[in-house]
Amino acid sequence: MNWLAFGFRRFFKRQEIERELDEELASHIAMETDLRVRAGDSPEAARSGALNEFGNMGLVAEVTRELPPWLSPGK
């Protein structure tokens, strides 16, 4: 087996999974921001409120990534 190629594939797969997760969390914040704007907030207040309500994005991403290794990798 070509371990080097296997390692590269795993590395890029992991990068893709992390990028997707970041995009998913950013999408959540964008949707919450939109909701607040439609409710009457200014765009700045809406984004600030959305970020506040979301919490520490880096921590959420980290906890989401730290799933038990016995759970199989994403499709």
Binding site: E20, L21, E23, E24, L25, S27, H28, A30, M31, E32, D34, L35, E53, F54, G55, N56, L59, V60, V63, T64, L67, L71, S72, P73, G74
Partner: protein, 127 residues
């Protein structure tokens, strides 16, 4: 009956008054809320949190720090499928839906919930 999940997640109980209660609920209960919400149709994470808040009469607010790990865990267990799509506001979002295995898990979680309700009711019964 013992509840097998020992992990805990926080869900904030929101009220219109400034005072807030923080209620610790078992991880299995959050799974139940998510699976039940998706039984009504596919939805993205933001939509799921909004739906839980609305259907609970604004009493339950699931923290994103609990919701996204739960969604990813349920997906990895094969109970949810996910697909990137354009949302109602033309934003790219990851939509989740129940798989067949997810529907079976939902039924199992509903059963456990009923048992928990009965158990707590039994303790609270003044008789």
């Amino acid at each position: 009956m013992a509840i097998s999940d020992s992990s805990r997640v926080s869900t904030t109980m929101t009220e219109s008054r400034p005072y807030q209660n923080r209620i610790e609920i078992l991880q299995g209960t959050l799974d139940l809320l998510v699976l039940q919400t998706l039984a009504r149709g596919e939805q993205h994470g933001h939509g799921i949190s909004q739906a839980i808040r609305a259907r609970s009469g604004e009493l339950l607010s699931v923290e994103t720090g609990s919701l996204y790990p739960a969604l990813h865990r349920l997906e990895k267990k094969g109970w949810l499928d996910a697909e990137w799509k354009s949302s109602e506001n033309n934003q790219r979002a990851k939509y989740y839906r129940l798989t067949k295995a997810g529907r079976r898990q939902l039924a199992a979680e509903q059963g456990r919930w009923q048992l928990l309700v009965q158990a707590v009711s039994g303790v609270l019964d003044p008789a």
